[in-house]
């Protein structure tokens, strides 16, 4: 009769970017079951809507997470604008698209670095983060902050990007593609990296769909699902197709994110060519009344914001469901049957952003 050991993984662990706890039931060096436990950084941010004006809450919504910060702020603004039936000007929509794609670039480069760190490849980790610095410099030049953009508000955007700056950014990004390709080729072709990621953590297409997996976790298993196909904002004028891979293992999820890097540079290029001149915001007056669900695509998957307003300056309820929260059942499924040494790689492959998960 094989003995079953329970190994507690986390909340403090060198490979985890944020605290999450897993109880791993291990038999003969293989994980049989995993029970996740979250709640270490629950800040109760959804309850703050009772105290902060709906117009000023965008500052709190941006700070739910440090990595996916802009899209949180943008989705909050979208949900209020839909409830109040505001038409955001076209120029503001295009600027929001440019910043969303820059946010996706920096998030995927951050993840690539953490993934390399998970299997001990320190030099690759440092080079990925060196590449990310250039993107952060572009973001700081256009919005004022490296990580928390602070450029979205209900009704439009707070800052403008001039046409020269936009052209220069597109040129810099295209020249930078060669350097990014040099580093991502290591992920795709290197033998030692493939050995750690191929065939590990396989998630079949049916499982990915029924367990509610979202984002690159689902697209790596062949589920054709990307919220940008809803054509919200300026995405209705941009040609775009979701990136899909079919193998369902860690290697294909990594490949999806690498291909999305190059796709984001292409989307910024398309937006820069089509952006019209015009006002940056629309005046907001009155209070919201009604309810709406807004769905957008964060780097990690589909985020959904539900707001219910009753005609006063405080919202009655704000509910945020982030993509990592939806990916946790998929994580529990892929951990069953893996080696103990593969656990850090598998946790990082769903791109956990626990501060989003627990708000």
């Amino acid at each position: 009769m094989t003995k079953r050991t329970i190994i507690p993984f986390g909340p403090q662990h060198p490979v985890l970017p944020e605290p999450v706890h897993l109880e791993l039931a291990v038999e003969d060096g293989k994980v049989v079951e995993a029970i996740p436990s979250v709640g270490f950084i629950h800040r109760g941010l959804e309850k703050l809507v009772e105290k902060k004006d709906f117009f000023d809450f965008v500052f709190v919504a941006e700070r739910i997470c440090g990595i996916c910060s802009f899209i949180h702020g943008m989705t909050y603004c979208m949900v209020i604008e839909e409830i109040m039936k505001l038409e955001v000007p076209d120029r503001a929509q295009y600027l929001r698209l440019v910043w969303s794609e820059l946010s996706r670039l920096h998030s995927h480069l951050l993840w690539l670095g953490l993934m390399a760190d998970a299997f001990g490849f320190e030099s690759l980790f440092m080079h990925c983060w060196r590449l990310r610095e250039k993107i952060l410099d572009i973001i700081e030049e256009t919005t004022g902050g490296r990580v928390i953009f602070g450029s979205c508000k209900v009704g439009g955007v707070r800052k403008d990007i001039s046409a020269d700056t936009l052209d220069r950014i597109v040129k810099v990004l295209h020249e930078y593609e060669r350097e990014i390709k040099e580093i991502t080729d290591v992920f795709i072709a290197d033998g030692s990296v493939k050995h750690r990621m191929s065939g590990v953590g396989v998630l079949s297409k049916e499982d990915a769909y029924h367990l509610g997996a979202v984002g690159p976790t689902a697209r790596g298993s062949g589920v054709d699902f990307d919220m940008r196909k809803l054509r919200y904002g300026a995405y209705k004028n941009i040609s775009f197709a979701p990136v899909l891979e079919t193998a369902g293992d860690c290697y294909s999820r990594c490949h999806v994110r690498i291909r999305e890097l190059f796709q984001s540079i292409d989307l910024i290029d398309q937006a820069a060519r089509k952006i019209p001149a015009g006002p940056l915001e629309i005046k907001v007056s009155g209070f919201p009344e009604g309810e709406f669900f807004a769905r957008t695509e964060q780097p990690r998957g589909e985020v959904i914001y539900y707001a219910k307003a009753n005609g006063t300056k405080f919202l009655q309820r704000l509910r945020v469901r982030t993509p990592t929260f939806a990916n946790i059942p998929a994580l529990v499924k892929i951990l069953q049957g893996c080696d103990v040494a593969d656990v850090p790689v598998l946790i990082l492959t769903i791109d956990p952003c626990i501060s989003c998960t627990e708000r």
């Binding site: 000023d56 690759l124 610095e133 030049e141 004022g144 902050g145 707070r158």
Partner: protein
Amino acid sequence: MSLFSMSWVVLKSLFKVPATVRYPFAQKHYYENTRGKIMFEVNTCIFCGLCQRKCPAGAIMVERKDKKWELDRFKCIICGACVEACPKKCIHMEHTHTKPAVTKEKEKHIHA
């Protein structure tokens, strides 16, 4: 299957200029748009209190009868909401950040 594909990149970076900034001997390059510390001109202020209401972190305290304006720099998140809200435009944002300090003190300004 290729091995050691990273060696070429690592070797190249030995001979390149370092990508890091040698702080504190070299300073970081700040952009025109960078959100930095808040500067305040007390003699233009009318003590309306709009900045106090708009501040998401509660870092500003305004007292109309004493003509006192107080800022807690450690609470400030440099979002710029007060800069946009001020009707007399007496709050400005610089491009550099607040230097580290040894004690936590609130900055007081009193109208002359």
